[in-house]
Symmetry: D2
């Protein structure tokens, strides 16, 4: 069993930390909100991030944005014992991820960027997917702990590659979700039954994750947000945040991302016109069928 | 066994007619190009479409566009024996499909719109998918013949619904193909291996038909057009034609289709800038990674 | 003074006909709605379009769409006296315009397509702009009458060119209107005064017709629809109709029109989400700043 | 006459500094490239930025990006004499502009963000436009010097507002340039003469700066880049840089910018597919009419 420092105990981090405690690891935890530290029963709350970094085998962070990650590690690099393994599970811009990993290297420390997908439900159930950037050796050291928190571990490449894989995946997700909602609305506007059309496209070349397992049209599929008023799920506010990261990544590499950019802007229009930031991201269906809103 | 009239023996229709002959049906065929009639061994070439329509149980058409279909049926309605079943397998605008079906009804005839997907390979192998619009009764009569030519038969709804299902499906296909090419280019531009990134997204929420079975990035997947210089396959020229139909369908129903419209226009830009009308539609990858062209 | 047949006395046609009467011409008029014929004081209402076509020097039509124009001329070609000059002022697809002009030529008649811009206010004031397709000779014959109804006459080219010029112009108009609304919202969201920002961009390279004379932001410019609750003006429903024609024209010529397509789809989203078909087209501002709606 | 420190003597800054010398001001200049310092005859080259900041009335900077500006001022704040007026003419992200201005205020110094438009030709001729953010008092102090370097001075608002006005303007410029190229290509593809169509749209509601004074179609207008092989002018590489800033500004304010995003991505596609980064930005015409490239 390992001694683990864990910083950032919000909606995701709290569940992840509890799963590590449950697997028998010794946890030192820190969050700016004291109540969140108390919520991880069996873990030792700390007075500061630096205290949390000291004398641990592995240090895990789960924070909202790149500036928080950069700020945190800047504060704690000197506190780490030699050979501490660093794992940042935050979803941030690849540039910051690479820069922090570089500093870690200069301190002689292994670091992984390991953003997750699967949402709070996946975090609670320990079934997250990790997209990991860093060396094979570092990942080998992390594997057992990632297995506690998740069900799938993908090695995307060197430092930063985990973040890049995540923004690519989520950009593509936004594209086919918007596209699926658009195709379903087009069919319905022309008299088709959305369930029949969905079934046809699933078995044809239109098939995609949004259509197959997360249908955005109300009433087509049981157990998805669309069938419970778009109560999330993966919120529009979080999808737009991930799409901002994708756009940054594209700008820095001078990549053209016309489809992703349009999807992002449709999400922005939806967010503003339907005050839908707190709804599941499949609610983009409402932008194409605003009359569903009045049902 | 049925007596079948078949008009339109091009890349698709020729294979379909040969499969019907192979299954033991008696075929009367017509095409403006005499050689194409000769290519259907065992079928009886006719002097006109009207001759082909006379004294058959079932009449099948496979033509390029709505105006050809409207023109054909206008010429042959009076030639049909009572109770002839009409099946138009052309991909055309839903409005023309509905209008021709209405005329059929006025002549007391059952008619189906039954556009296909699966390409020339599917036509040859008899594994096409049919998306069918028309009555249950008419489809019940057609089922055995459609089974000879295809592997999947989807009943989309009343007359025209087959065409609508097809344009919805193909619009969604264009969207996730462009999106997949875009996401892969973004990853590669940031140092990721396209095969690794593809594998991650397939197992995550980015998964879609284009990524899963028709990967557009050269070298990632064996046996797809991307791995043989985009030799098609489903040509860019045909995809843009289908997208034109989708845009018409959207205009007539006042539907918003921003993602589909952008995908269509990216295909147009690709077509013009890379002279790629004769390449497989996965070659949209070249628009995002023009340097692949020089490899 | 000429004897003129005039068919189509709606919001635009009625004003145009009244201006011709006011200039001393003898008018024979027809509309399916009898009240509209009565509204043109001094004109002789007719029992049919064919009656209106007979025994006139010039025949003018102003109808909603291509199918109406094709239908009308199909009905009246045989009624025209030799040498009647035909002027279709409807905004329709270039293909129909060319086809009808070709039929006119086969009947030995000169025909112009002469769609207008300037709206009902321009129609009433006689200050319309005409974009004319047809021969120099035909335009020379029409000039005096067009001058009565309008202030600007542009000769775009041969038959159909008037329609093409109009769809190009209106597509560009939609693009810079949406772009102007977008730029103003971006500035305001970042603390700028919309009037100050408008003034700067007008005097810089951002300048365009929408910004300079038809500012879409409420309160910036007096006397425009934006400053009276977007009471039109040039309605969203009419702009989307013109954009549909532009998209058709693009599809037929295999032109890529990504910016125009997106503008059209944003107008569709706006139309559906704000029930704004009856508002002036500058109301696209509300899509970018939905909070203006609650002011 | 003032004593002025000037840092950044590239394509723009060199001309601006020479104009200030020409107007009789005493200049201390610094650039990392010694030759550039020598090119400003009559100015005193310095060994460092800090030396340039010391003992001057006004300090002007003209640098490529936000990180350079932040870095420069971080190094020189302590070198300024009390009451030195700071003017940053770089085009950078509004967030950095505001942050540096805030630091200036903490040092008791007035600061303006004053990005320019007008290109190297405007810089040489002293006819630049300045979009200024900062206090009235600071602008009053700067006016005389800005008048030497430019022809138009716009006060956009408080600190950062100059940058915001510039990104809004340039985003709108990119939109109507792409839109104008698109409308012209649509017309030409349908048989219209680009010069005739341009003239019609200029006098109609399609009018905009790109069409009116910077026509992107070769041969329509004399003296513009389009009529000299798109030799530039305002380079595609610079336009994409400005559009990146616009996208950042939109992301930070959660603004939707679908038209601007698409324009940006079309420029990226153009840049990559035609290797056109070094061409004038009106060369986007080539994306719509690639056959012009072979003329």
């Amino acid at each position: 069993m390992a001694t683990i420092g864990f910083v950032g105990l919000g909606n995701m981090g709290g569940h992840m930390a509890r799963n590590l405690v449950g697997a028998g690891h010794e946890l030192k935890v820190f969050d700016l909100v004291p109540e969140l530290m108390e919520s991880v029963t069996g873990a030792a709350g700390q007075a500061s991030a630096a205290d949390t970094a000291a004398s641990v085998d592995v240090f895990i962070s789960m924070l909202p944005a790149g500036r928080h990650v950069a700020g945190l590690y800047n504060d704690v690099f000197d506190a780490f014992a030699p050979n501490t393994l660093l794992i940042d599970c935050s979803t941030i811009d690849p540039e910051t991820a690479r820069s922090v990993a570089q500093q870690a290297e200069q301190h002689g420390l292994d670091m992984l960027d390991a953003p997750v997908s699967g949402g709070t439900a996946g975090a609670e159930a320990g079934t997250l997917s990790f997209m990991v950037g860093g060396s094979d050796a570092a990942l080998a050291r992390a594997n057992e702990l990632l297995d506690v928190m998740g069900a799938n571990i993908f090695h995307a490449g060197p430092s930063g590659a985990g973040q890049i894989a995540k923004v690519c995946n989520n950009m593509l997700l936004a594209i086919h979700m918007a596209g699926t909602a658009e195709a379903l609305a087009l069919g319905v506007n022309n008299g088709l039954d959305p369930a029949v059309l969905s079934e046809i496209m699933k078995q044809s070349s239109g098939g995609n994750w949004s259509l197959n397992v997360y249908n955005p049209y109300p009433g087509v599929m049981e157990g998805v947000p669309a069938s419970r008023g778009y109560a999330g799920g993966f919120l529009v506010d979080l999808m737009t945040k991930d799409l901002d990261l994708a756009m940054d990544t594209a700008a820095q590499s001078r990549s053209s991302v016309p489809m992703g950019s349009l999807a992002k802007n449709l999400y922005r229009v939806h967010q503003q016109n339907h005050d839908s930031g707190g709804l599941d991201f499949s609610s983009i269906q409402l932008l194409y069928k605003p009359d569903l809103n009045e049902g």
